[in-house]
């Protein structure tokens, strides 16, 4: 279909996306409610983008740049870009002010900024991995999710002190606050479970479990009046690694009763519905849903898909059944990660993370009204192209649109899943320091990222591929140099690093130091294979785990994985059969083939685990350079 025909179709669809309604009783009621409560409260749900309560300013986190950009929505121009630190994620305006809170993910800080003059008002240190951040309507408190260790912190804005820490869910990321300030709603990133926390008591008041394969839920938004929460997420169907059978996109809708919840027995059984976004409009497939937004009048709903670079504009139904219906599809830029609606509901804004811009759309006609550059591209041309490919669920990377590299390796992290691959069970590894830890795959059957051309063209991704012409076999002659795009994909993939472990912020504890001594001792022999600054000899070994999986086709020798970042990458071993590090050293190593651990006392096992959880506690790259190790650039 050529572009002019596409454009005509979109124009027709846009024209149909007008919610012309008579001034019905329900609309009058809606207007009254709008006047009565701050329904479009700034900072009420986490996002990479937020709009001030007066609608004058927009702020967005630029993850790759380490900055927050401030946009004047009157002129649609960036007015300033404020450096905040490594990998900023959630951003929110505080109450009705022009002050901002930013979750600086890799620096373990909440930064508080003045959007009007670009000054940093203060920084609040948190335990680890702040992700989502929201504000009370009055702006006196902000709340942030700490993805690891799964907590929520309450910060007093005036004193910039943490006043309380609540236990949240495992890897909680999404966060929203009720308009009345009574409850917080959280999403667990790796399970899509939703939790409600009673702010008064700080305790978990309710829980909405997802299905066992739901995954990657990073944001949550509340409906202004209906008692509903909306999340987008994927499902990782690990039993089959196949393009049309592994990753599925969803919007789930949660019934959120008032804070004075009914008795347990009075709650309806079905409190959570799911809508498949790969069969929402015909058989059109979308990939990697990232954020959702609802207009202040509660009538329209938007969902962005960062893998297929599109957006669904929907109508909200007040039916407790179908919930939302499709009205239009809008093509977006590269890797859209955020959507936000203006307080008056007339505009919505998209953050295209890999175009480094914000695009303004009329919320009714869906016409683009402005493109605002928010950050100078911080990546090299090659790494940017590689990152776009890594996140793409479109050709030439992917044939069936459901999946991208990032579906299982989001931002170079892991999906925490063990997949039934053709070669056997394979736990998804994080990509941190991959540039130093080749070969690749548990089976060490690839010696360069460019060998993933075979994955791109294979059953999993079914793409056309990036090499024009003959592809060399894995481990054979190099595929490097055969495709600029494939080299770019390698260039990006090899950029990932890891922050220091939160378990070693003050250096190694006494227990971890004892564990370190054990790790490097001849009694355990751990460091024989887990050697060097990255704790790998980059060789394959039989550690006695090859007989545990009847579906195994390649074992029993597996590549020695790096141990950096182990504290948050459970389960362990190539087949994921060790739920904890303790199990790696005990029940999964009864014959002492994976180091000598059977003679260790429980206390020594605990010490060893403490050391492993502390990795990395220092930057491995200076040591690597001193040893003459070179990072693979592409």
């Amino acid at each position: 279909m050529n572009s002019s025909i596409k454009a005509r179709i979109f124009d027709q669809v846009r024209a149909s996306f007008r919610f012309a309604m008579p001034l019905s009783f329900s609309r009058c009621l809606g207007i009254l409610l709008l006047l009565a409560a701050p329904l479009a409260q700034a900072g009420s749900s986490n996002s990479l983008m937020d709009i001030s309560a007066d609608g004058k300013l927009l702020a967005c986190s630029n993850r790759d740049s380490g900055t927050v950009s401030i946009v004047d929505l009157g002129t649609n121009k960036k007015v300033r870009e404020i450096p905040v630190g490594h990998k900023p994620e959630g951003v929110c305006f505080i109450g009705r002010s022009h002050s901002l809170a930013v979750a600086v993910y890799h620096d373990d800080q909440i930064a508080i900024l003045n959007a009007d003059d670009g000054t940093t008002i203060g920084r609040v240190d948190v335990t680890d991995e702040p992700y989502g951040v929201v504000s009370t309507a009055g702006g006196d408190k902000i709340y942030a999710t700490l993805s690891y260790p799964g907590q929520v912190v309450e910060i007093d804005v005036a004193t910039r002190k943490i006043t309380r820490t609540f236990p949240g869910g495992a890897f909680n990321r999404g966060i929203a606050i009720r308009a009345d300030g009574a409850q917080l709603f959280l999403t667990e990133y790796y399970s899509a479970t939703v939790l409600a926390i009673d702010i008064g008591t700080g305790k978990i008041a309710d829980r909405w479990p997802a299905t066992s394969s739901d995954n990657l839920s990073r944001q949550i938004a509340l409906h202004p009046t209906r008692g509903k929460a909306y999340i987008s997420h994927i499902r990782s169907a690990t039993e089959r690694a196949q393009g049309e059978g592994s990753i599925f996109p969803y919007v789930s809708i949660i019934d959120t009763p008032p804070a004075a919840a009914p008795a347990e027995e009075a709650k309806p059984k079905k409190r959570r519905k799911r809508i498949p976004m790969d069969s929402f409009i015909g058989a059109h497939v979308t990939a990697n849903p990232w954020e959702v937004a609802i207009t202040p009048d509660g009538k329209r709903f938007f969902s962005v898909f960062s893998g297929t670079n599109d957006l669904y504009a929907c109508e909200v139904l007040d039916d407790d059944y179908r919930e939302i219906v499709w009205r239009a599809t809008v093509q977006l830029g590269n890797n859209p990660r955020a959507v936000r609606v203006s307080p008056d509901g007339k505009m919505f804004y998209i953050y295209n993370a890999l175009d480094f811009n914000v695009v303004a759309y009329d919320a009714f006609s869906l016409k683009k009204s402005a493109t605002i550059e928010v950050a100078a591209g911080p990546l090299t041309e090659e790494v940017l192209q590689g990152k776009r490919l890594f996140y793409s669920a479109l050709q030439p990377m992917v044939g069936r649109r459901w999946i991208s590299c990032s579906s299982c390796h989001p931002d170079g992290e892991t999906d925490l899943r063990t997949w039934q691959n053709p070669e056997g069970l394979r736990d998804t590894p994080p990509l941190g320091y991959m540039a130093y830890t080749h070969p690749l795959h548990w089976s060490a059957d690839r010696d360069e990222v460019q060998d993933f051309e075979h994955t791109i063209r294979g059953q999993l991704m079914q793409g056309k591929g990036l090499i024009r012409g003959r592809t060399n076999p894995e481990l054979g002659a190099p595929n490097k140099g055969l495709s600029k795009d494939l080299d770019a994909l390698a260039g990006y993939s090899n950029t990932h690093k890891l922050p220091f472990s939160p378990h070693a912020k003050a250096g190694l504890s006494e227990a971890a130091q004892r564990g370190k001594n054990l790790f490097f001792s001849q009694n355990t022999l751990c460091a024989t294979c887990h050697s060097g600054p990255f704790y790998t000899d980059q060789k394959a070994h039989d550690v006695g785990t090859g007989q545990d999986d009847p579906s195994e086709k390649i074992g029993p020798r597996y590549d020695t994985p790096t141990l950096l970042g182990l504290y948050k990458s459970a389960p362990y071993l190539h087949h994921g059969k060790a739920a904890t590090l303790e199990e790696v050293l005990t029940s999964q190593n009864k014959l002492d083939r994976h180091g000598k651990t059977s003679t260790l006392t429980p206390g020594q096992i605990a010490d060893l685990v403490e050391f492993l959880r502390a990795l990395p506690y220092e930057d491995p790259e200076p040591q690597a350079k001193a040893l003459g190790l070179k990072a693979i650039e592409r």
Binding site: T211, S212, S213, R235, A237, E239, R240, Q242, E244, G245, F248, Y250, K270, R272, K273, R274, I275, P276, D278, S279, F280, G282, A283, V285, D319, Y321, R322, E323, V325, W326, W402
Partner: protein
């Protein structure tokens, strides 16, 4: 014991009278079925998502949308499976769509159904969401909606508020199956 049996029988009999009433749900005769993806659990594309409506095209198709699996529903599926087997020369196709909010649990139910009933001709599939594809207008009150179409036009529609179908209701559906080829 006798006192127990009488009320129990009465309850069952009463229940038998009230269950599986016909309701309005799904596309009407003459309407065209739209494309939608399902996850194939037991069919030839087991493990994949695909559009069976698209794959079957203009062939005569029986589609069962259900929100629960009961012995009575299983009997209907077996009847349709037999009919598809008997009408291969007429290109009769069918698939079952379980509308569920728990695809993992639903898959186990469908695998069990296929094994117990030896279903070989009807792919048992999942639509991951209880409301079903919007264009099909599946009612929230319908536990089972059976649509049969040929040449992309719906010919018959049967919908029930319970999956505890009576023998007569199953016969009514299969009687319309036979008409698909007229």
């Amino acid at each position: 014991m006798k006192r127990f049996f009488i009320p129990a029988f009465a309850i069952l009999a009463t229940a038998g009278l009230v269950i599986a009433a016909e309701v309005k749900s799904g596309l009407s005769a003459g309407e065209s079925p739209a494309a939608f993806n399902v996850k194939d659990i037991t069919g030839p594309s087991k493990g994949k998502s695909l559009c069976y409506r698209c794959q079957y095209g203009a062939k005569p198709v029986t589609t069962i949308f259900t929100r629960e699996i009961t012995p009575e529903l299983a009997a209907l599926v077996k009847e349709i499976d037999t009919a598809v087997g008997a009408n291969k020369d007429k290109n009769h196709k069918a698939f079952l769509v379980l509308l569920t909010d728990d695809a993992d649990a639903g898959a186990k139910q469908l695998e069990k159904l296929a094994a117990e009933q030896k279903i070989t001709n009807v792919p048992l599939t999942i639509y991951d969401g209880i409301a079903g594809p919007e264009k099909y207008k599946i009612s929230k009150d319908a536990a089972v909606t059976v649509l049969q179409w040929n040449k992309m036009r719906v010919q018959s529609n049967h919908a029930f508020d319970s999956a505890k179908l009576t023998g007569e209701q199953v016969k009514a559906v299969t009687a319309d199956t036979a008409k698909l080829f007229n």
